[in-house]
C-alpha cells in the first residue's frame, strides 16, 4: 500500500501517529473550557517556570476522591485549586425526599469515620422541631458513644497523619485501636461503621453486658495504649521537624475562614460547641477545652497534638458518663410517623472535625422541606488554599492531613 492510498479505516489506538500535540495537551490539568470567573482565569494562567500538577482524584494521600490542582514552581507550590464533587451524592436532596426516620441513615455516611455525630445533629434538630424531651439516660448514652467515637476518629487521624508523611506503621496501630472501639460500639449498635443508632427522641438500644465488658476492658488500658502508640511519632525528630512551622494559622484568620473544631482550637481560639453552646448533658460533665498555639498561631504540629489532648479529655468524659449513667427509658414516646408542625430548627454538635450543624425546615409533612447540612470538613478544607501557598509539595501533605478532611462530608 502506498502512503497516499485512501483508506477508510479508523486509525488504530496503538498507532503513534495519531498522537497530536493538541491531544497531548488534554492530559494537562487545564479545563477544556474558558475560565468562568476571575479567580479561575488567574489560576489557570501560567507564568514562566510554573506548571500544573493534578493531585487526585486518584492519589494515594488525598483522603478520598479530592482533586487538588497544584500550580508548582520546582518543588514549591505557588497556588492551588481544590476541585470537589467527585463524591457528591446529593444528600440534602435525598433528605428532602425521605421521612424523618430515613434521614438518620441518609446522613450516616457523611463522615464515615465518626458517623454517630452525623446522626446526632439531625436528631437534635428534629427533636427541636417536635418539641420532644429526650430521656436523660438516652442523652448519657449518646455522649458516651459519641466520645468513644471521637477517640477512635482522633486516633485514626494520627495514623493517617503519619501515613501521609511516609510512616507505614502508626496507621495499623490506630486501626487496631479503632477496631476495638468499633467492636465495642457494634455490641450495642449492631454495626461497625455506619451505626444508624440514634433515633429521634432517644437511641436504638440500651447498654448491654457485652458493651460494658468490652468497654471496661478497653478503658483499663486505653490511656497507656494510646500514649504508647503516639510515642512512635511525638518524639520522632523527623516527624516533628516536618510538622513544626508548617501551615501556620492564627486565630483571627481561622475564625474569618469559618474554621472550627481542632483546627480552630489549635490556633488558640477556645471555641467548642460542647461548651460554647452546650447541648445534651455536656453542662453536667467536667472536661476542659484544650487549646494550643495561642498568640503565635497554630502549625500542623499543634493541630496534631491538640487531637491527643482531646483524646485525653474524651476519656475523662467517658469515665464520668459511666459513673453518672442514670436509669430510665432510652426513648421518648413518639408516633411512628413523625409530622412536626411547620417551623425551623438549627442544631449543631461538636463533631471530631468541628461544628456540624443541621438547619431543618418543616412544612408539616413527614418529610423536611429543606435540610441543610453544614459539614466541618467542607469549611476546614478551604484553609488549604491559605496554608499551602509557598510551601513545598511535601508540606501539602503535612497541611492537608493535619486539617483532617473527610471527603464523604465535604462532597455530601
Amino acid at each position: 500500500m502506498t502512503p497516499n492510498a485512501q483508506t477508510h479505516q479508523h486509525p488504530s489506538l496503538d498507532d503513534p501517529r495519531i498522537m497530536l500535540d493538541d491531544q497531548i495537551g488534554q492530559f494537562e490539568a487545564v479545563p477544556p473550557y474558558p475560565p468562568r470567573t476571575e479567580r479561575e482565569a488567574e489560576f489557570y494562567s501560567l507564568r514562566d517556570g510554573e506548571m500544573f500538577v493534578n493531585m487526585g482524584p486518584q492519589h494515594p494521600s488525598t483522603h478520598g476522591v479530592l482533586r487538588v490542582v497544584l500550580k508548582i514552581n520546582g518543588e514549591q507550590v505557588v497556588d492551588l485549586d481544590p476541585v470537589l464533587g467527585y463524591l457528591h451524592r446529593g444528600v440534602e436532596k435525598l433528605c428532602e425526599n425521605s421521612d424523618y426516620h430515613h434521614i438518620i441513615s441518609q446522613v450516616d455516611p457523611l463522615e464515615y469515620v465518626s458517623s454517630l455525630f452525623m446522626e446526632w445533629a439531625p436528631v437534635m434538630a428534629f427533636e427541636k422541631l417536635l418539641d420532644v424531651e429526650v430521656p436523660r439516660r438516652a442523652e448519657y448514652i449518646r455522649v458516651l458513644t459519641g466520645e468513644l467515637l471521637r477517640v477512635s476518629s482522633h486516633v485514626l487521624f494520627q495514623g493517617f497523619m503519619a501515613l501521609d508523611l511516609g510512616g507505614l506503621t502508626p496507621i495499623l496501630y490506630s486501626f487496631i485501636e479503632r477496631d476495638e472501639i468499633v467492636e465495642t460500639l457494634a455490641a450495642i449498635t449492631g454495626q461497625r461503621m455506619l451505626f444508624n443508632y440514634f433515633r429521634v427522641g432517644g437511641v436504638n438500644g440500651d447498654l448491654n453486658h457485652e458493651f460494658m465488658s468490652r468497654l471496661g476492658d478497653w478503658m483499663s488500658r486505653a490511656t497507656k495504649q494510646v500514649e504508647a502508640n503516639v510515642g512512635l511519632l511525638n518524639e520522632n525528630e523527623i516527624f516533628v521537624r516536618r510538622m513544626r512551622g508548617v501551615g501556620v494559622l492564627d486565630g483571627d484568620t481561622a475564625l474569618r475562614m469559618g474554621a472550627s473544631g481542632p483546627n480552630l482550637r489549635a490556633s488558640g481560639v477556645p471555641f467548642d460547641v460542647r461548651r460554647a453552646h452546650p447541648y445534651s448533658v455536656y453542662p453536667e460533665l467536667e472536661f476542659d477545652i484544650p487549646t494550643r498555639g495561642a498568640g503565635r498561631g497554630g502549625d500542623s504540629l499543634d493541630r496534631y497534638l491538640l487531637r491527643q489532648d482531646e483524646v485525653r479529655e474524651s476519656l475523662r468524659i467517658i469515665d464520668q458518663c459511666l459513673h453518672n449513667m442514670p436509669d430510665g427509658p432510652i426513648t421518648a414516646r413518639l408516633p411512628r410517623l413523625l409530622r412536626p408542625r411547620p417551623g425551623r430548627a438549627w442544631a449543631a454538635v461538636e463533631a471530631p472535625r468541628g461544628l456540624y450543624g443541621i438547619y431543618a425546615i418543616s412544612d408539616g409533612t413527614d418529610q423536611p422541606f429543606r435540610m441543610k447540612i453544614h459539614d466541618p470538613s467542607f469549611v476546614n478544607l478551604q484553609l488549604v488554599g491559605l496554608l499551602m501557598k509557598n510551601n513545598l509539595i511535601a508540606d501539602t501533605m503535612a497541611v492537608m492531613s493535619s486539617l483532617d478532611p473527610i471527603m464523604g462530608g465535604i462532597d455530601k
Binding site: V53, S61, G166, A394
Partner: protein, 455 residues
C-alpha cells in the same frame, strides 16, 4: 501405510514426545559428546586457559546475575514479613510455607503483566532506563568479597569502581523519570538526581579515612585487614565514618527515611509511576538489590566482611589447645567407610530413640524410632555443616558475610517500618550542612591520628 507409520500413529502424545527424545539421547547425544571431547574440547580448553581472566569475569557476571534475583526475592519477602510483624499483622501467608514463595509469585505476576508505554513517552529511553538501573545495581556485585577467594574481580581500585558504578544508577532514574511523560515521574527523577548526587560526596568522603587506615582500595584487602577479633573491625576505628556511611548509603539507595524520589504520598511513585510489567520489575528489583549492596558494603567496610567476630584459634591457644585443623580424607578409612555409612545411622537412630521409648511407656516404638531418626538427621546435618565450616574457610566466610549483611538488611527494613520520610529541603540541608562537614572532620582526625601514631 507402513509399519513404522502405523506404530507412530498408535502412540499417545506422550509417546510421540518421548520417542524422539530417546532417539536424540541415545543416537545424537553420544555422537555429539564424542565430537565435543575429541575436537571442540581441547580447542575450547586452550581458549579458556589463554583467557582465564575473561572467563573468570564471565562466570562472575553470570553468577552475580543469577544471585541478584533470589537476593531481591528474599529481601522483598523479608520486608513484607518484617514490616507486617512490626505492624502487628501477619503479612503474606498464602503462597508456600508462611508465605515464603510470595515474592516469587509476585515476580511471576510482574512478568505476566502488560508492559505498557504511555502515550507521549519517549519509548526507547523509557524501555532502556530500567535496564540501566538494574545493570548498575547488579554490576556492583562484581567486586564484593563474599568470602575468602569468593570475589568476582579483585580490582585494586574496587572501592572507586563501586562508587563510580553505583553513581551511574542516578542516570537511569533520571532517564526513567524524564521519559515517562509524567510530571510525578519528572519530579521523582529530579529528586533522585539531586539526592544521589548530594549524598555521593559524604558517602565517598566517609570511607577515605578507612582507605588511609587500610592503605588499599581493594575490597578484598580491606576485608583481609579486619581479620581476627571483632575489635579489629574498622567500625571501632572509624565510628563516625561508619555512621556517615550508613546514613548516606540509606539515602543513596532511596530507602526510608530518605525515599524522596518515590514518596508515594506526594508524587505517587516518583520515577516509577508510569512503569508496569517487567520494566517496573527491573526498577523494583534494582531497589532491593541496592539494599543488599549497601548492607554488604557496610559489612565489608566496617564490620569485618567475612571474618568471624571471634578468633577461635586465639581462644584455643589461650586454653593451651592446638588450633583446629581438619584434614579428613574419607579415602583413608578404606573398607571402614561403607561400614561406617551402614552402621552409624542405625546405631545413632536407636540411641536417640531410646530415651523417648524409655521415658514414656505409652510411646509406641515406631514413633520413638521416627523421632530418633529425625534427631539423628538434625545432628548429622549439624555435624556435616560443622565439618564443612571448619574444613572450608570460604563457606565459613560466606556464612558470616550473609549473616552480617542480612542483619543490616533487617535494620533497613526496620527503619522503613518505623520512620516517616524527611522533607526534600531537610534532606539536602542534612547532606550539605551536617554530613559533609562531619565526613571532612572524620578524614582530618584520621589523617592526624595516623601521623601521630606513625611518628
Amino acid at each position: 501405510m507402513t509399519t513404522p507409520n502405523r506404530a507412530w500413529g498408535n502412540l499417545t502424545l506422550t509417546g510421540k514426545v518421548i520417542i524422539p527424545l530417546l532417539f536424540l539421547l541415545f543416537v545424537v547425544g553420544p555422537i555429539l559428546t564424542y565430537l565435543l571431547v575429541t575436537v571442540v574440547g581441547p580447542w575450547l580448553m586452550d581458549l579458556f586457559n589463554s583467557n582465564l581472566a575473561i572467563v573468570r569475569f564471565v562466570v562472575a557476571i553470570g553468577g552475580v546475575l543469577l544471585f541478584s534475583i533470589p537476593a531481591a526475592f528474599i529481601i522483598i519477602y523479608m520486608e513484607l514479613k518484617v514490616i507486617a510483624f512490626m505492624n502487628l499483622r501477619i503479612g503474606p501467608d498464602r503462597v508456600g510455607p508462611k508465605g515464603a514463595l510470595h515474592s516469587l509469585v509476585a515476580g511471576l505476576k510482574v512478568l505476566t503483566k502488560e508492559d505498557f508505554t504511555p502515550t507521549g513517552a519517549d519509548s526507547i529511553v523509557f524501555t532502556w532506563a530500567p535496564v540501566l538501573v538494574f545493570l548498575t545495581a547488579v554490576m556492583t556485585f562484581l567486586v564484593i568479597p563474599f568470602g575468602p577467594g569468593l570475589v568476582g574481580q579483585d580490582l585494586n581500585i574496587g572501592l572507586l569502581y563501586m562508587f563510580a558504578v553505583g553513581g551511574m544508577s542516578v542516570v537511569g532514574l533520571l532517564l526513567a523519570g524524564w521519559s515517562s511523560y509524567n510530571k510525578y515521574s519528572l519530579l521523582g527523577g529530579l529528586r533522585a538526581a539531586a539526592q544521589v548526587v548530594s549524598y555521593e560526596i559524604p558517602l565517598t568522603l566517609s570511607v577515605v579515612g578507612l582507605i588511609l587506615l587500610a592503605g588499599t582500595m581493594s575490597l578484598n584487602s580491606i576485608a583481609d585487614a579486619q581479620a581476627g577479633w571483632f575489635t579489629d573491625w574498622y567500625v571501632f576505628r572509624q565510628p563516625l565514618g561508619a555512621l556517615i556511611f550508613f546514613i548516606a548509603a540509606t539515602a543513596e539507595a532511596n530507602r526510608t527515611p530518605f525515599d524522596m524520589s518515590e514518596a508515594d504520598s506526594e508524587i505517587v511513585a516518583g520515577f516509577a509511576t508510569e512503569y508496569s510489567g517487567m520494566r517496573f520489575g527491573f526498577l523494583f528489583f534494582a531497589e532491593y538489590v541496592n539494599v543488599f549492596i549497601i548492607s554488604a558494603l557496610l559489612t565489608t567496610f566496617f564490620f569485618g566482611a567475612w571474618n568471624a567476630p571471634i578468633d577461635i584459634n586465639a581462644v584455643l591457644a589461650a586454653f593451651g589447645l592446638a588450633p583446629i585443623a581438619v584434614a579428613l580424607d574419607p579415602g583413608s578409612l578404606g573398607i571402614g567407610l561403607p561400614i561406617l555409612i551402614g552402621v552409624v545411622p542405625v546405631v545413632l537412630t536407636l540411641v536417640f530413640a531410646a530415651p523417648f521409648f524409655l521415658a514414656r511407656s505409652s510411646t509406641p516404638a515406631w514413633q520413638a524410632l521416627l523421632l530418633g531418626f529425625m534427631l539423628f538427621n538434625l545432628v548429622a546435618i549439624g555435624a556435616l555443616f560443622l565439618l564443612a565450616y571448619i574444613g572450608w574457610p570460604w563457606l565459613a566466610g560466606l556464612v558470616w558475610f550473609f549473616l552480617k549483611s542480612f542483619a543490616f538488611v533487617f535494620v533497613f527494613v526496620w527503619m522503613r517500618g518505623t520512620f516517616p520520610r524527611v522533607r526534600v529541603d531537610q534532606l539536602m540541608g542534612f547532606a550539605w550542612k551536617w554530613l559533609l562537614p562531619a565526613s571532612l572532620l572524620n578524614l582530618f582526625v584520621t589523617a592526624a591520628a595516623i601521623i601521630i601514631v606513625k611518628s
